[in-house]
Symmetry: D2
Subunit: 222 residues, 4 copies
């Protein structure tokens, strides 16, 4: 009978986007909601695929759950693997409109903030552990310049500057499409929801248990 509340892990996913009816990132987050991972409780929150609004919703969730760990998920059409992102850049440059019809071009996510933040997830250890578990994963050096990077940058800025979040680790992870998406867009790689959920469960465990990131090569020549 422990009187202690377990710490929270916040996992965010996005609402559906463009012509899709579902978004892999939210399906994964939702599947993990309420589960226990390394004695922490997973809280899933859906973010709108809208510049600005997505950050507001994230802020609410940060205030509400005071998480020890934040994993933001986004769907990356065309990628075949689970890809933890290494760096968030202070730039919005939308190739297409967001779900509210906004299309910001070349403006900072947060004026006056640094040009970039690195993820504070142990990204190398995550990739190593996922592969060891038979799950396809690679490190990514760009989260793009759309709402995913927007949320990622805002998250890292909060973690770096807000007192109550001192010590909270966080980062962004892109996941592939689901088979149902690929069925409508021939040629696209995809991974079953079950595979993705298993991968994000593993990733959360590594993020909660590994203190020092692995020092393994994971770079890209270009």
């Amino acid at each position: 009978m422990s009187p202690k509340t377990p710490p929270n892990v916040l996992i965010t996913g996005f609402e559906a986007f463009e012509n899709d009816e579902t978004n892999a990132s939210w399906e994964v987050a939702r599947a993990l909601d309420g589960s226990i991972c390394e004695a922490a409780l997973v809280r899933a929150v859906q973010l709108p695929c809208v510049f600005g609004d997505a950050i507001e919703r994230l802020d609410e969730a940060l205030r509400q759950w005071r998480p020890r760990l934040v994993v933001s998920l986004g769907q990356a059409s065309g990628r075949a693997e689970i890809t933890p992102e290494r760096v968030a850049i202070n730039l919005d440059d939308a190739r297409i409109a967001d779900n509210a019809g906004q299309q910001p071009i070349d403006i900072p996510v947060i004026p006056g903030a640094p040009a970039a933040y690195f993820s504070s997830l142990p990204v190398k250890a995550i990739v190593r552990d996922l592969r060891a578990a038979g799950l396809p994963a690679s490190l990514s050096n760009t989260a793009g310049t759309f709402v995913c990077n927007h949320v990622f940058f805002a998250l890292m800025h909060r973690l770096a500057t807000l007192r109550p979040l001192a010590g909270t680790r966080g980062g962004f992870v892109h996941v592939p499409c689901l088979p149902e998406h690929a069925a409508r867009r021939p040629g696209l790689p995809s991974l079953a929801l079950q595979t993705q959920v298993e991968a994000i469960r593993h990733l959360t465990r590594t993020a909660l248990s590994v203190q020092e990131d692995a020092r393994e090569s994971g770079g890209q020549i270009h």
Copy 2:
């Protein structure tokens, strides 16, 4: 107590190849072995990844099971979807050695046989039905020139020339890697075994029930 024996469906898959410990094609075939599909009984047979021997093993299975339908499966590293093959060509040209160390270069699969055979599976209907079921699929116009095409060509030659197999439909289908393979070869697309098994079950159903193939565009410009 029905005195009638159900018709057989033969599904072949390959043994592991190169440095892998498993082969998606055999894992899928094995998972379907013994199942009932449209009142037919699925018989799974593993083929060696060896020029010549693979055809011998296929011949044995054809004699033993007198199948109404034959679906030969092979694993295609790098493809992201279930890809029914359209055409088998009378050519062995091995980029690497097979599991017995053979590497035939530019010789016919069967001397004197035609240059090619088209699949007798309803390939367009199969792709249509898989996509409708939310499963990623595309038609392929080349099965390569390795053991997969070798088996495909021999199969179609048997179906075209052997009396007892008159009326038997058959063809070849490439399946993607499993996640466990992609975990060891970064960047590779993959699909969970469960997704693949579901797809081949659907495909078998379509192959048994559709008489006339769909007339939908599925071609490639090049």
Copy 3:
């Protein structure tokens, strides 16, 4: 003053297609028109990108020039190299309409003809010689199912069945886009016209001088 007429080499290219104003295959053929290669005279002929009409124009050219060698060129958006095609299949299956608005689906190029013909160009020697000259090339096992394959199949059927063409070698070669095409379709590989012209000049020389094709591995696993 030689009383002997030099033998002809026929090189065909296609007219522009879809939204392009030029077609790399015709630009290359045109650049070589009238040149001398291994004591043969190059005759360039433009084919319409139209099922049926393209073959008629090819037939006229074959009658007019009685070539010793025929190299049909086509542009392959998305390919990065010069790709000699290995096999033509007896199938028209148009993913999009041709320049006359026709879109045949799953009909033979020539009813009653064989399922396929192999190129009679020394395709392995061609790839070997191009690479040795510092020019990017790979063998292709599918010419698609559009007008390119249509012309390729008809050409090989003529060479196989028409008496006056006995001894004439021929085949099909896909070439990449030009940089000007890639400038309008981001992400597409391309090669400068000059690079392509040099490659097809090399290829013609190999096709005229090599009797026995090289026995080097050039196959694809799938």
Copy 4:
């Protein structure tokens, strides 16, 4: 007889790397050395493909030429277009060893410097002008984590912090392989040297003449 010295443009390229005998980036830089562009004089300097040493050589060149504009070039195997880089990150993470056998993993390029710098080239205008000239180009959001990004980051840090370089614009641009490289690595895209030289000449002109970058969408969703 003008008493005025023309301003300098510094274009750097790398020495050959891995098993190649040439490096497209240096071939392009060298071809432009000594040419006049918008009344400025192009100075080409070769950098070693070595962490640390490359920056030292860059520093020497900056001191020697006091350039008004710096364009650092690097070769990106696998890319098909001229790709101006948007952002340099403060991280060395070498997947393979450099030409001196060093393989730094997850260390900053410059300890204490910001996490990233954005290019000060008008990257959108550059892509727009290249495409308008029929030259394939796209904006890139990652320069990798190898020697290219290392030089790019150091360059931007110098431009941001060194007094004598106030007002100097600079950035990094990846160029594709040359056809001679692709001839030895099947499947790789490439562009003729002449096409690349023409592109970098255009790019230099745009960089010297455009004050305000274009506000056109050039972002990536991920």
